[in-house]
């Protein structure tokens, strides 16, 4: 019906929840087998999110952020997409090797996702209220009337003005930003334990974005929800993230706490990203960009996948793949020269 996937959550599931890692992705590998060849889209992604924590996933378009998220949700487009390695553990259990039924039950404990292309996901022939209420009826067995009342409350929670009235309106009557808020309301409706938000505030203006991020923050604190925030907005990331994982060509190239990453990025790609943001406090000249294009995933460059675009590249970079190595206890970088980057002033 819609593009928001909300899993069932048996009420008992929250009880006696083991502490520790909520969701872990380890060395995940995904490829798309297309007519043009095999696109290696995810090439060993490792990240995790704990309860009550916000992990921001940053990276260029096409770097595999959404495919990783789709694989976590179990909605990878198969074929052409195939998982070829790795684990996705929810509360310590690998979701990739368990039975479909088991997997549905674990998803049932509440992983929800707001999709990147949510704007086109609402069904044009049903009212917005009906589409939200459907979840409460189907998943929670609520009466039509109660479900509609809850739908209006959800619209109100995501700050849609006149929620009681607008619940009866159709998607085309909402502006782009308001439709995105409807999608967020749908994903939060059943109180997920982990929310994967793929560019959730991209279409929103700043005052509403601030409200939505406040709202997500509130929910997260209340429910100890883990949030995986996929975004290209380095401003939002600086405001809300606890940790950041930077992705490039299907790999994590840098992972660090938010403060250390902004203070001293330890990967040339991250440095490039931080330099290419337009700033509100000055009228800049031409923006610094990262030269070139992201690689075709049919032909990922040898060695470090970033080397054709990297201003620091050395001969070794075209030969050896730099592994994601720990730098001290809190951060990691996949660059042959990471140590030098961290030591610089």
């Amino acid at each position: 019906m819609s593009n928001v996937y909300v899993a069932d959550k048996p009420s008992a599931a929250r009880e006696g929840r083991p502490s520790g890692r909520l969701l872990e992705v380890e060395d995940l590998r995904v490829e798309f087998r297309t007519r043009d060849g095999v696109a290696k889209v995810i090439n060993g992604v490792t990240y995790h999110v704990d309860a009550g924590e916000t992990l921001a996933v940053l990276g260029e378009s096409g770097s595999g952020k959404s495919v990783t998220a789709q694989t976590i949700m179990g909605i990878l487009d198969t074929p052409p997409g195939f998982v070829t390695g790795g684990e996705i553990r929810f509360h310590g259990k690998d979701m990739l090797t368990m039975s479909a039924e088991e997997r549905r039950r674990i998803r049932g404990e509440g992983i929800a996702m707001v999709f990147q292309d949510a704007l086109s996901a609402l069904n044009p022939v049903f009212t917005v209220g009906f589409q939200i209420a459907e979840q409460f009826r189907v998943r929670r067995g609520m009466s039509r009337r109660d479900a509609k009342k809850r739908a209006a409350e959800m619209l109100d929670q995501v700050k849609i003005p006149n929620a009681k009235q607008r619940v009866n309106e159709y998607p085309h009557q909402f502006s782009g930003g308001m439709r995105q808020r409807v999608m967020i309301a749908m994903s939060l409706a059943l109180d997920p334990e982990v929310l994967i938000a793929d560019e959730p505030t991209t279409a929103l203006d700043v005052t509403v974005q601030a409200q939505i991020m406040d709202l997500l923050g509130e929910l997260q604190r209340e429910r100890q929800m883990g949030l995986i925030l996929i975004t290209h907005d380095l401003g939002v990331v600086a405001d809300v993230a606890d940790r950041i994982a930077v992705m490039y060509a299907g790999r994590i190239v840098e992972e660090a706490g938010v403060y250390e990453l902004y203070a001293k990025p330890a990967h040339p790609y991250t440095i490039g990203l931080l330099e290419s943001i337009p700033r509100i406090d000055e009228k800049g000249q031409q923006l610094r960009t990262i030269r070139g294009l992201p690689p075709s995933l049919l032909r990922i460059p040898t060695g470090c996948p970033f080397h054709p675009r990297c201003p620091m590249a050395q001969p070794v970079c075209a030969e050896k793949v730099p592994p994601l190595l720990q730098l001290g206890s809190t951060r990691a970088s996949a660059c042959h020269f990471a140590e030098e980057l961290v030591k610089r002033d």
């Binding site: 260029e60 502006s175 601030a210």
Partner: protein, 348 residues
């Protein structure tokens, strides 16, 4: 620079709100755009910023002649665009192009990239003879930084940034004079965004394009725009040069918007001077009397409910502002730590 290419006067677009299925009854109007006037100068970029639902896309649709305005007019190169015949309309469509907000829905999924970018040539065959089209499309792919080898691929095989480039290539195909960009970079990652912004600037220089650049990201608009119009609930509330709007904003709404821009520095988290707007954006079906911003404005006085503040030059300021009490205010938009200010909202 001062030569106007597009003159927009008192543009109004209302959508009827209806009830009933068989006997439709109009029970009100969404005042999506309500009395908007501005000029677009040759070769300039006019930025349009404002909250979701304030009428930016509606404005774009009406300017593109995709919808007729309820009232008001638009003159393009001296001609009223709503009075054009079939031939004139065809020329208009060539000269004003649109790059859309959403690269995920604006491209037909069943057409190859080559067909998508070549489609404008089918409609306007005089621009490129059939034999040269494939090459033209490949050139366009190159101009927007896409691999010309990918000409036979379908939109779903591209990521968002790549799809937005396809949209830009398509808009460029007919060599238009004006491109209306409705949120062209908002769905993109920063390095791609920077490339697309530089691309838009490059194309502007190369082809002498004029842009109407609609975006909610105020940093992006500052970077690209020569002048900026700030919209709230269907009206322009402040209009000025990029410097006037960003350095010396006088409308409380502009001030609130600027202060809410997230700053890419985690150290500013706890000491940012955000003017948190309380209350909701009122419904455009039934906007507040007088000043439409008054229900969320911390400076509102009794006069604000009575009198509509016109967009005009006011004492103590060098650009038009639609506020009875327009005045400068120091907005902390820098990356340095500022003081926390909480502003009370006055209710009437």
């Amino acid at each position: 620079m001062t030569e106007s290419i597009l003159e927009v006067r008192d543009l109004v677009k209302y959508y009827p709100v209806t009830r009933g299925i068989v006997f439709k009854k109009t029970i009100g109007h969404v005042q999506a755009v309500d009395g908007v006037s501005f000029d677009l100068h040759k070769g300039e970029t006019l930025g349009v910023v404002g909250e979701s639902g304030c009428g930016k896309s509606t404005l774009a649709k009406v300017l593109m002649h995709l919808e007729k305005p309820t009232s008001g007019g638009v003159t393009f190169n001296g001609q009223d665009i709503y009075k054009l015949g079939a031939g004139g309309l065809r020329r208009l469509r060539r000269n004003i192009q649109l790059v859309m907000q959403d690269p995920y829905t604006s491209l037909n999924p069943r057409m190859t990239v080559g067909d998508l970018i070549g489609e404008p040539f089918e409609i306007h065959p005089e621009v490129a003879p059939k034999a040269s089209r494939r090459q033209k499309v490949q050139e366009l792919l190159e101009v927007v930084g896409l691999n010309p080898e990918h000409i036979n691929r379908y939109p779903h095989q591209f990521s968002g940034g790549q799809r937005q480039r396809i949209g830009i290539a398509r808009a460029l195909a007919l060599r238009p004079e004006i491109i209306v960009c409705d949120e062209p970079v908002s769905a993109l990652d920063v390095s791609i965004q920077a490339q697309v912004m530089n691309l838009l600037e490059k194309l502007q220089d190369e082809f002498g394009l004029s842009y109407i650049f609609i975006a909610h990201d105020l940093s992006v608009v500052r970077h690209l725009a020569d002048r900026v119009a700030v919209m709230y609930l269907g009206k322009i509330v402040e209009l000025g040069s990029e410097e006037q709007i960003y350095e010396r904003p006088t409308h409380p709404y502009t001030q609130a918007l600027l202060s809410a821009v997230p700053v890419p520095d985690p150290n500013s988290r706890h000491n940012k001077a955000i003017i948190r707007l309380t209350g909701d954006v009122p419904s455009p079906t039934n906007p507040p009397s007088g000043c439409r911003f008054r229900t969320r404005c911390w400076k509102a006085e009794e006069v604000c409910a009575r009198e509509v503040p016109l967009l005009e030059l006011r004492s103590g300021s060098d650009h038009p502002s639609a506020c009875h009490f327009a005045e400068k205010r120091e907005i902390v938009v820098s990356h340095e730590a500022g003081e926390l200010t909480e502003l009370p909202t006055r209710t009437l």
